[in-house]
Amino acid sequence: MATPVLDKADAAGRPEPGFADSPYITVTFRIRRFNPEVSAEAAWEDFQLEIDPKERVLDGLHKIKWDIDGTLTFRRSCAHGICGSDAMRINGKNRLACKTLIKDINPEKPITVEPIKGLTVLKDLVVDMEPFFQAYRDVMPFLVTKETNEPTRERLQSAEDRERFDDTTKCILCAACTSSCPVFWNDGQYFGPAAIVNAHRFIFDSRDEAGEQRLEILNDRDGVWRCRTTFNCTDACPRGIEVTKAIQEVKRALITRRY
């Protein structure tokens, strides 16, 4: 015999912490559907599921896609919050479907699921990510150094200098922040918090030498100055990055550079 399957009777384990007995409950998923091959309008559709409240919203979406309606379309990959594929608006807030447990979002009422805001909706929960990545690319998100001959050893960096930009290295480019930003919704021209976070990651890296250029880019009309400190980005970030704080640090760097 291989991987064991035990009779439930003879497995009187000690009671589970957090796993008492997992009663399935009935949950309604209210999903914003849009399929240009069917209709020009988006509409709500309700699905009822039997689901363990400790499961993720992503599990619910999979249940729907796999067992009820295969046309439901969304992006996902890692299923544990590190790839950034499945940012969506769940009960009105941006979150990762794979990091949101049903029990944490009041399963008593229908759970609304919509695509993130401010980007073109392509189908159901899938949006066009190109403008988002374009803004990212526009801030020179890479290390720039002037050295001509390649060092044979690593560049040195003190632990404190490394710590300085630690927070913003966590970004997984999920767009939860940018698409939660009220400025971005109306004006997709704004670089958006994610691009600024990724610029911050290099501006404050002691090894980098293009901070000045990046600051100049963000001094743009559509740069950091458009941020109205609404903190939606910070609240939405699944990686717990203090996004607004990073933006403020960039603003202050711009000011101290000028005056």
Binding site: V5, E16, T73, C83
Partner: protein, 584 residues
Amino acid sequence: MKIHKYDTVIVGAGGAGMRAAIEATKRSRTAVLTKLYPTRSHTGAAQGGMAAALANVEEDNWEWHTFDTVKGGDYLVDQDAAEILAKEAIDAVLDLEKMGLPFNRTPNGTIDQRRFGGHSRNHGEAPVRRSCYAADRTGHMILQTLYQNCVKEGVEFFNEFYVLDQLVTEVDGVKKSAGVVAYELATGEIHIFQAKAVIYASGGTGKFFKVTSNAHTLTGDGQAAVYRRGLPLEDMEFFQFHPTGIWRMGILLTEGARGEGGILRNKDGERFMEKYAPVMKDLASRDVVSRSIYTEIREGRGCGPEGDHVYLDLTHLPPEQLDAKLPDITEFARTYLGIEPYTDPIPIQPTAHYAMGGIPTNVEGEVLSDNTTVVPGLYAAGEVACVSVHGANRLGTNSLLDINVFGRRAGIAAAEYAHKADFVELPENPEAFVVEQIERLRTSTGNERVATLRRELQETMDANVMVFRTEQTIKTAVEKIAELRERYRNVAIQDKGKRFNTDLLEAIELGNLLDLAEVMAVSALARKESRGGHYREDYPNRDDVNFMRHTMAYREVGADGSETVRLDYKPVVQTRYQPMERKY
């Protein structure tokens, strides 16, 4: 249908694909096709670190690293390749640092290193600090850094393009790679990429298991495409099962958790690893710990109402230590289990983790069509490939190394080949296979559902070819897979549209998984010994006389159209180290 022409085409934008792209773009006109946005690749999930004998914190050298790799792989490792891996590791890490990777630092500013399972000083004397890391998100930082440099180099990406077929043309009796066929998710359009050189870097195939640390998208598309064209797959029976996956979900809890002092306990609270590995205890090698856990479970000492898991106990560790060293995994426990690791043990079970086998290549990343012959213009690197540096069992932190070292090598080799080679003529109707496949699925009136078949496949794989295998269980799996392959012909999908038809793609991915599962099971059945990740209860010992050799699996199509797996074998390259018993 559109036809594109590039010197080099890279399939996959994970660590291996992007490392290759950085080199190839500098040298040739390169396109990277990827089914996910590059930063969504599963390389980002890796936590532990990347091995290199930098000797920043204590004495170390690449020779010791080579030994550990060979021993870790239960001597099935090709030692010439392992030597390259360990030697080039140092430059690979320095390269990444130059590209901007924010490694953790020592007090004097150099890259910090830490211990990891199986890495030792002086051929097994004592653990050594060899793993270079960036907090507990080394893979994430590698993926981001490589993507950043791709942006810098202006690498041309085709995002959400699924490569579904490899084009092979015979020129003067030699099979050459002509290009690939890709499916554009956004529009449903089929694209032919004619290329002088093609590099596969499409990652692993862990999704044929149910409990796995792998992403939903790791479905072995690359392996399947090449295999379908009559090229071999090497050592597919070797799959690594990581001991500590979150119960039922398979989300990985890094070895570091035990490195920090975490203890595995059964339902009686007993520290059972003391029985199985008196010296290394909870830090014994991955295959040993995984087997021990399942032995506990089988003997009725598993936890929970169904007795199907054990506990990873961190409660005796100070909360500050957990916060500082293991922030991500404590967060996983809180998010996914609602468990506070300060006070409660975490339910875990072994999880399918890494495919040691894959597309056979030489050390330049060139794909082989048999034991020695190279397929001109075809390359592979990363988890999709089998060089073989991991042999029967991969050491922790050696894979992030693998993707950088061999990703780079394949990128350079492919671009240089593309320089001197000419385009190979496309076969007639290059898109035929893909069109037929898609049309069949779209118009099928069958009554089988993708999700059902996939579930059954995953269940049978988990039950029969996971940590413990016997003749009988593997046979059960082979039969079940055959049945599922039969039923797969009758599979139907609901989404008949063109735009973002993920329903269709899941069906295609299932087809790939079924092909690869078959290869795996058939290869495992024939290997009547236990070695590394492949553990046969009916043959519990390693058998160097009969099985010190790589498995090479080929697809045979009979005159009646029936498909079978034909097995062949390839000798292992041994240079310095003679096989010894593997003890930790």
